[in-house]
Structures are given as structure tokens and as C-alpha cells.
């Protein structure tokens, strides 16, 4: 099992204890998770992702057996295709994009171009709904959450896309899934990091109605406790106790 939702690096709006790759490797081992797709957290807030990607590749160099880079590609930035090619060349399974932080609304043609190009290259496109609960955000953190409309648009417009959405809750997932055709919804996967467990049992409900093959393991480390998704799976009702989530390796082609 892979954790598709991890980062290294600092967060601009609060202190994070040791967000370092060495620590992530230890945490994954403790949780029994084989590896992780890792983004560079500061890059979500950089205008130009070039330096953040270089830092990510360098930081993960010694941990590539466990940590796979998910570099940032900003599709409204000149020459973004070079970043995508580098990701392929360096064996990345996925690239990350942050449309709310860049002001790219649902339906933006550059996001569509990236989703299709990444998919054609065999890379997943990882999107982040939110880094923090909206009720606690810094006054300068005004980007807002990724919308269901943005995900629906990519799934509809990009036949090659393989989109992994991190940090969504039940409402957004259902607004997206049931607003897509079966073929379109097969282009989207959801991490379980922000889906409620019991007693509301949102995760159980979604596994029953949407299907376990649309969900992947994700934690949100180092922003969130890495113990949460494991706890959520352990507390599923008995009939779902042995459910298997999708294997992220299958999303990212042969990578």
C-alpha cells in the first residue's frame, strides 16, 4: 500500500514538526505503509515551481526505494512541458497541481492541457482540496478549496486524465462522482484522508456506493496525523473489514 498524499517541507501558515523525508520514511514503516508519493509543500505557494522541484528531487534522492517524487507542474507558466518531461525522466509516478492557489478556476484550459498531457505520459495528476480546515486558516490564506466542478471538468474534458484528489469529504466526492458518466468517473480516484468514519460512517457509505476501487490510501502528512487513515479503515463495519482500496501503482501506469 502506498500513501499518495504526503509532502516534505515547511507550511507558510503554521509550524510543522520535522517535515523531513527521513522522518517520513520512519513514519511509513511504523504505519506499515510501503511507500509514498511525496510533494514539496512550499511549492504550492511558490509562483515558479522550478526551485521547489529541484529541492524535492534532491531531498528524496537517498530514499527513492520508499519515497517517489510528485513534483509540481504549473500549466499556466511558460515551458511547463519541461517540468512534465523532467518528471517522466526522473521516474515520478505523479505530478501535483494547485489550481486554487494559482487562481485557475474550473474549466481553465491550461489545467485541461496538463491533465491530458500527464495522463498521456503515464503520470497521475494529484490535486489537493485543502491543506487545512477552512475554519482555522490564516487571513492571508484566501485561496479557498478546490471545487467539485473543477474535478468534474477535468474528468469530462480530458480522456487521458488520471486524477487523484486528496483531502475531499463525502459531499464533494458525491457531487463529483454522481455528476460524471461511468467512463468519466473512472478517471478519478480519491484519497481517504479527510473522509469521516464512525459514527457517521461516511467512508463506509462511499465504499458501498462508489466502490473501493475509486479510493486510495492517503494521510496528508506532515500536515495531519498519519495514524488517521489506518484508524478509519480499522473501524469500518464488519462487512467491509477486508475491503481493498485501489493500488496507486495501477493509477500511474507501470511506474
Amino acid at each position: 500500500m502506498l500513501d499518495v498524499h504526503t509532502y516534505i517541507g515547511a507550511y507558510p501558515f503554521r509550524h510543522l514538526p520535522h517535515p523531513d523525508p527521513e522522518v517520513l520514511v520512519r513514519v511509513l514503516a511504523r504505519e506499515g505503509v510501503e511507500g509514498a508519493w511525496v510533494g514539496h509543500l512550499p511549492s504550492a505557494f511558490y509562483r515558479d515551481p522550478t526551485h521547489g522541484n529541484a529541492a524535492l528531487y534532491a531531498a528524496l534522492e537517498r530514499h527513492r526505494d520508499t519515497l517517489a517524487p510528485a513534483p509540481c507542474v504549473r500549466p499556466d507558466w511558460p515551458g511547463w512541458q519541461r517540468q512534465l518531461r523532467e518528471a517522466v525522466d526522473r521516474g515520478a509516478p505523479a505530478v501535483r497541481a494547485y489550481p486554487p492557489q494559482w487562481g485557475l478556476a474550473a474549466g481553465h484550459p491550461d489545467m485541461r492541457a496538463l491533465a491530458d498531457a500527464a495522463g498521456e505520459a503515464g503520470l497521475a495528476l494529484v490535486l489537493t482540496v485543502r491543506f487545512e480546515d477552512v475554519r482555522q486558516r490564516h487571513w492571508m490564506d484566501g485561496a479557498g478549496d478546490l471545487s467539485a466542478a473543477a474535478v468534474r471538468d477535468l474528468a469530462r474534458a480530458c480522456p487521458h486524465a488520471r486524477v487523484v484528489v486528496c483531502g475531499a469529504g463525502r459531499e464533494m466526492i458525491e457531487e463529483t462522482v454522481w455528476g460524471l458518466t461511468p467512463a468519466e468517473r473512472a478517471r478519478v480516484w480519491w484519497d481517504i484522508s479527510w473522509i469521516w468514519g464512525p459514527p457517521e460512517d461516511h467512508l463506509a457509505h462511499l465504499l458501498r456506493t462508489v466502490g473501493a476501487d475509486r479510493f486510495v490510501y492517503g494521510s496528508g502528512w506532515p500536515l495531519r496525523l498519519t495514524q488517521t487513515p489506518r484508524a478509519n479503515l480499522e473501524l469500518l463495519p464488519d462487512e467491509l473489514a477486508h475491503v481493498s482500496l485501489a493500488d496507486a501503482r495501477g493509477i500511474a501506469g507501470a511506474r
Partner: protein
């Protein structure tokens, strides 16, 4: 710590008048997941009709009374596994005090205040004083770092609860769900020096660093494990507490010992109480 006492000091149940068809399934899910986590006692409330016939945070007298009756019935049905808060709306004045007396006589072990009046409002003073006289802790709903009015509730933050707690040093206050929304970092500074304010760890928020900072602010003797409406985050926090450096004795305090100390004697099973006594003697020594 498998098998050790584990008290959830912030739980909720539903009843047939709450307007949701699945209310029994949600109650059953809490007990199912609680058993798997190892919860030995759910200390719970029902907030009126949870919005069905009056607003959750501005519950009508009739809804308050019915919900308390339903909660006490659950307590009677489940023995030591379920304990009740008596939920009151401070705007009812003397009637709120009468409701506390009525429900305590039937076995309620704490007072639950939601968000129908600001925590530092003088209208809460008789309730806080009554709770102190009776030895009942007051669980108060909190919006961490409230910077404006939010719809549906007259929310309070740590500083506002702190002012009430300062006026009633003999009453124990449980500051609700540090992970339940808002900026918990503000809360820690607001209540650090108030020994009668305890932090409940519940809420869907599982930010890394939150538990470490809570521990640094108030120490293990003022933390209370809890779940509120997300038991999986409670389990995650329980496991996180085990890896952030708490000793076994301190972890036992957070799991159940502190609760045994601030709730009336006899509220929980003997194991939890004896652990708390042992730890208190250790601290005193």
C-alpha cells in the same frame, strides 16, 4: 494499553425526534466503533432535536427536556458504558437550574452547554456555580479563536470560556474539541494558566503538532481524550499520544484518569477511579 479504561468525555447520541431516519444506525455505529477502540464509557449528550424542531445550538425547552430524558434512558439501558450530561440552555434561567437538578437526580454526571449564550455572559454564572456546588464538570462547546459571529450558534472561544472559569475557580470546565474547528493555537495560550479548564482532544481536526502543543500548554493532567462525531480521529489521536512522548502513567490520565478526577465519584468503573487515585497520590508525593 489494551483493556485499560478509556473514557470519551464528548459523545453524542440521537433519538427518534431528531429528524433523521438513520438515528438508530448512528447510535449503533458509535457503540460498534467504541467497542473496537476500547472505549469503556461514552459520556454523552443529545442537543435537543439536533435542529429538527429547534436549532441545535438554540434548543427549545421542550426539546432540551426530551433529549435529556432520551439520554438518561440510554444511560439506563447501557449500564456503565454510557453516562449522561444534562444539556441546558442558559436563556431559560431558573428552569435550566431545575433541569440540572431533575437530571442529576436521575443520574446525570455533568452539564453540557452548547452555544445559545456567550460563555462569559453573566447568565451562565448561576449554572457554573450550581455545577461547582454539585461537583459536576461543565462541557462547553467552543469555536477555537472566534473572530466573528458564525451562523447557527452564539459561539465562544477559549478566552471567553476562560473568563467564566476565572469567576468560578471551584468548577471544572471542559473546553470542547480542540480539533473541532478554529485556531486551537489561540486556545492554548488563552487557558494555559487556568487550572480548572481542561482540554478535550476531540474533533475531526488531526493537525500534526496540535497534541504536542496542547500537552506543552496545560500538561497531561488537563487533557481529556474524546471523539465527538469522528471516532476514527479519536483513535488516531490515541495512537499519536503514544508516540509523542507521554509516559504510561500520563497516558492513563488522558485516557481516563483525569475524567475520573473531575466527574463525580463513582461515575466510571472502579479501574478508572483507582488509576486516577494512584496518579494523584504520585503527583502529591
Amino acid at each position: 494499553m489494551t483493556g485499560a479504561p478509556l473514557v470519551d468525555v464528548h459523545a453524542h447520541f440521537y433519538h427518534a425526534g431528531c429528524g433523521r431516519a438513520d438515528w438508530q444506525a448512528v447510535n449503533a455505529a458509535r457503540l460498534r466503533a467504541g467497542a473496537r477502540v476500547g472505549i469503556t464509557c461514552h459520556v454523552a449528550s443529545i442537543l435537543g432535536s439536533f435542529g429538527h424542531t429547534s436549532p441545535t445550538y438554540f434548543a427549545s425547552p421542550a426539546d432540551v427536556r426530551r433529549a435529556n430524558d432520551e439520554m438518561l434512558a440510554l444511560q439506563a439501558a447501557h449500564g456503565a458504558l454510557v453516562r449522561s450530561y444534562v444539556h441546558v440552555n442558559p436563556n431559560e434561567g431558573e428552569a435550566a437550574l431545575a433541569e440540572i437538578a431533575r437530571c442529576v437526580a436521575r443520574g446525570a454526571i455533568g452539564v453540557k452547554l452548547a452555544a445559545s449564550r456567550r460563555a462569559d455572559d453573566a447568565l451562565l454564572d448561576p449554572i457554573a456555580a450550581d455545577a461547582g456546588r454539585r461537583g459536576l464538570p461543565v462541557l462547553h462547546h467552543i469555536w477555537q479563536y472566534r473572530r466573528r459571529e458564525w451562523g447557527g450558534q452564539e459561539a465562544s472561544d477559549g478566552a471567553e470560556l476562560g473568563r467564566l472559569a476565572e469567576r468560578h475557580p471551584g468548577t471544572s470546565f471542559i473546553l470542547a474539541h480542540i480539533g473541532g474547528g478554529g485556531d486551537y493555537a489561540h486556545t492554548f495560550h488563552a487557558v494555559r494558566d487556568l487550572p480548572n479548564v481542561y482540554l478535550d482532544l476531540s474533533g475531526s481536526g488531526v493537525d500534526r503538532g496540535m497534541l504536542d502543543d496542547a500537552l506543552a500548554a496545560v500538561g497531561p493532567g488537563r487533557l481529556l481524550w474524546a471523539c465527538d462525531v469522528t471516532i476514527e480521529t479519536g483513535l488516531a489521536k490515541l495512537r499519536a499520544l503514544e508516540v509523542i512522548g507521554l509516559s504510561e502513567a500520563d497516558l492513563a490520565l488522558v485516557r481516563a484518569g483525569n475524567a475520573a478526577r473531575i466527574f463525580p465519584a463513582g461515575s466510571f468503573d472502579e479501574t478508572a477511579r483507582s488509576e486516577a487515585r494512584g496518579r494523584r497520590e504520585e503527583i502529591t508525593a
